[in-house]
């Protein structure tokens, strides 16, 4: 039955770091590989904070797979690394260089449009040599099945295509992983939401204000009381001629606090600590947002079904190592390993042979242990339980708590603790780790900042206005299934381009009178959507990505 379809040996869906690594490695093995990317160019749909790690222990890094990657596709290498504990105007800064350098061969800041489009060109060159290539503006919209077995993909723009291997490197909110029944979009606890601004700053001013050379870069993290008790933190990374500044929060915590993501970002942007780095000028190039899976909870231990393998965010392989976020590097490792697995099982009659081998390679290379440490599963059961949390919280709030944290020895110990990869990876995801402790540290040890910030970030309306969209008129990619406040109301605040009392966003709630009774209903307009994926989890929707080339187009990422 499937004979009539076009066939490639391997199909890779998505040309982010995971897809690029998989495709490059497949081409190295001589496999005829077709890469399908929905963006008009790779990177036009993608967002990251921006630090890509080359881990010493990783079997593959982008620099191994692509000659010239660091010279041509990245911004600045990170040479300085700090965390700032903030309590009001008091800030206590720790040098995190030790933690940052642990297992780090290299680490560069990146902007995704530039990085991914560079990768796309290299991948096209490589895959063309083995009979395939990269096609952009093509959205895969489903799996092709034959008698219940996955044999290929279906697309909005092309006829169905079959393949011996299908790599779902389609990122967070992977439609393929969901259709295969491997991932769901149900639990807010399994996700972070990342929001980011790219701010224009002159390269000389960056060197000057961060006290770095033109081939050096700085990374700053922020935690404490500036985010309205929402669990998460902020980051600032230096690019060649811009700054990437953003926030990453636990999605369940955002919902609990009914926080507005853009306001939390603004809280960081307008903190006096950052004022000096802007030089009282603020020129935002781009506002962006995306969901981020939490590998500790979401990484699939057996990410395959039939000929389909999941790599990167699609498989939940995004590691939040305390304040350090590692998604891109693991996507690269996983993509390359999936390709290797296919190469050694090529010709095997069992369609799932590659997937099984890939799973084993993830284990054997130690990747799965980083992504989903078993010790975390243990720590979580104790540490996250509400009762324990509040007990610890009460201690911290007590005079005893500040005494414990506040003495000079504690200060040194704390800095060391922050730099311990083991402790950091075990820090349970509670308010304690993100908010209470940093706040206390700042109160006890922090220096007070005596100036104000005069920065005025753009409004949500201005941010949406500055983005580039190719709207698929009359063909919205998200359908709101349940308009009730109960089912979908959370999206009004959690959607990064919507807000309570803002009519120009995606989600809004309005009081509607029917038969004399007044009811508040939620409505949706997908035009300003930045495809972050949040409402797929927090609202009752039928959620898809737009057709190839349609929707938002990031220029920075």
């Amino acid at each position: 039955m499937t004979d009539e379809y076009e066939h490639y040996e391997a199909i890779v869906v998505g040309c982010g770091p995971g897809g690029a690594a998989a495709a490059a490695r497949l081409a190295d093995h001589g496999v005829e590989t077709l890469v399908l990317e929905r963006g008009t160019e790779a990177g036009s749909k993608n967002v990251s904070g921006g630090l890509i790690y080359g881990e010493e222990s990783a079997p593959y890094t982008l620099a191994d797979l692509f000659d010239g990657f660091r010279e041509e596709a990245t911004e600045r290498p990170v040479t300085d690394y700090y965390i700032h504990n903030v309590a009001g105007n008091k800030v206590k800064t720790y040098d995190l260089t030790d933690l940052h350098e642990h297992d780090t061969d290299w680490c560069d800041a990146v902007l995704r449009r530039e990085m991914d489009s560079w990768l796309e060109r290299r991948v096209h060159e490589k895959t063309s040599e083995t009979g395939g290539g990269v096609l952009t503006n093509v959205r895969v919209n489903g799996l092709l099945e034959d008698d219940g077995e996955i044999v290929g993909v279906t697309c909005d723009e092309l006829e169905p295509i079959t393949a011996d291997l299908i790599v779902a490197a389609d990122g967070v909110n992977s439609e393929l992983a969901r259709e295969a029944g491997l991932m769901d979009w149900e639990e807010p606890e399994e996700w972070f939401q990342g929001v980011k601004a790219v701010v224009d700053v002159d390269p000389d001013a960056i060197d000057d204000r961060f006290d770095i050379g033109s081939d050096e870069g700085a990374a700053h993290l922020f935690s404490g009381d500036l985010f309205d008790d929402v669990r998460g933190g902020g980051f600032l990374y230096t690019n060649e001629d811009s700054l990437s500044i953003g926030t990453v929060f636990h999605l369940d915590s955002l919902l609990e606090r009914e926080a507005e993501p853009h306001e939390l970002l603004d809280a960081l942007l307008t903190h006096p600590l950052l004022a000096g780095w802007f030089g009282n000028e603020y020129d935002e190039r781009e506002y962006a947002a995306k969901l981020v899976p939490d590998s500790k909870k979401a990484a699939h231990r057996e990410p395959y079904r039939d000929r389909l393998v999941l790599v990167g965010d699609a498989a939940g392989q995004m590691q939040a190592q305390g304040p350090i976020i590692k998604g891109m590097n693991h996507a690269v490792t996983a993509g390359a390993l999936a390709a290797d697995a296919f190469a050694v099982t090529r010709g095997n009659a069992d369609p799932a042979a590659a997937g099984r081998r890939y799973t084993k390679l993830l284990e054997d290379s130690g990747t799965m242990a980083k992504l989903r440490p078993r010790r975390y599963d243990l720590a979580r059961t104790v540490g996250e339980r509400e009762a324990v949390t509040s007990a610890v919280e009460r201690v911290l709030e007590s005079p005893l708590g500040s005494l414990a944290v506040g003495n000079p020895i504690a200060d040194r110990l704390l800095e060391r603790a922050y730099n311990s990869p083991l402790l950091v990876s075990m820090l349970p995801d509670t308010k304690t780790g993100y908010v209470s402790l940093p706040t206390l540290i700042a109160e006890e040890h922090g220096k007070t900042i005596h100036w104000e910030s005069e920065i005025e970030p753009p409004t949500l309306e201005e941010r949406i206005g500055d983005l580039t969209y190719d709207t698929d008129v009359g063909n919205p990619h998200i359908e709101l299934l349940d308009q009730s406040l109960d089912a979908s109301g959370a999206a009004v605040t959690a959607c990064p381009v919507s807000a309570e009392d803002f009519g120009g966003g995606c989600y809004r709630s309005e009081a509607v009178k029917t038969n004399g009774t007044e009811e508040t209903l939620v409505s949706l307009d997908t035009q300003p959507c930045v495809e972050c994926g949040t409402c797929a989890v927090v609202a009752d929707t039928e959620w898809e990505h737009p057709r190839g080339g349609k929707g938002v187009e990031y220029r920075e990422g």
Binding site: E6, G30, E32, T130, G131, L135, E157, E159
Partner: protein
Amino acid sequence: MIEGHSHVNNGHIPTGVFMRSIVLTKGVPDFSEGAVSFDEEGHLERGKTPTVMNPNDEFALQAALQTKIRHGGHVSGMSMGPPGYAEVLQGAMETVYTDDSYLLSDRELAASDTWATAITLSAGLETYQEEVADIDIVFAGFKTADGETGQTGPQTCWAMDWPIVTHVVALDIDPDERTLRAKRLVEGDVDEIETVEAPLPCFVVTDPEFEPTYRTASQRLTRKRLRAETEERAADHEEYLTTWDHADLNLDPDYIGLDGSPTIVSSVDPIPKAPSEREATMLDPDAGDGMGEVLEEIQPYAAEAGD
């Protein structure tokens, strides 16, 4: 590694079939704002107005490209005009990846009307068949942005004695049967579409509604490869350009240029109705009736030509 090499074609790129197409393009003054230049009396200053490709030829080129991508083959751009029209052909190469260009250019050809142009173009096609290769399809756009007569295509076709399909919005070719199936607008009406069939070789006049479709990955990869290859080729366009003058074309100067042009433009007001907007049915050159219709269509101009 022989294994690896067999993947390069993998049956995705059609082999064994080869369609040779010619696209007729024309340069027109650039009417876009800022580019166009008029003298004090409001007459168009051709010399000062840049020349661009007739916008409607774009659709003919797209149709030719689709044929090449789907079936493999070769596309030549052909234009008649002053040496400056080479740029138009170069533009065609850049946008739709023609393989080479043929410019019919001669001072004797200046001031040709549509009739003389048609004679010259058909001489160009004849010469091409003799010196280069047999042609399967000739594509032409619909109306030029300046003359707006829409006659050149049908007239050239008549001169070649091939069937013609006009107002084409979609195209399918069966290279084995050597037939072409086209969806065309009936009376230029977007709501009324008919499907017609014609034997090759034939003439295709595309409608601005023409949309190429590439529904397989291999077609899209081929298009991408052609684009990359063309970038180099277009930069070096002269290498791929052949210019033919009236001697090369074996044309008697009496029948071409101003002398061979029966049409005298007295005023630019009454734009003759394009023949293709009339009842343009599919014509089979073998069936005498069909050709009779073409002759009828062309009759007024042919009669004038004899005056």
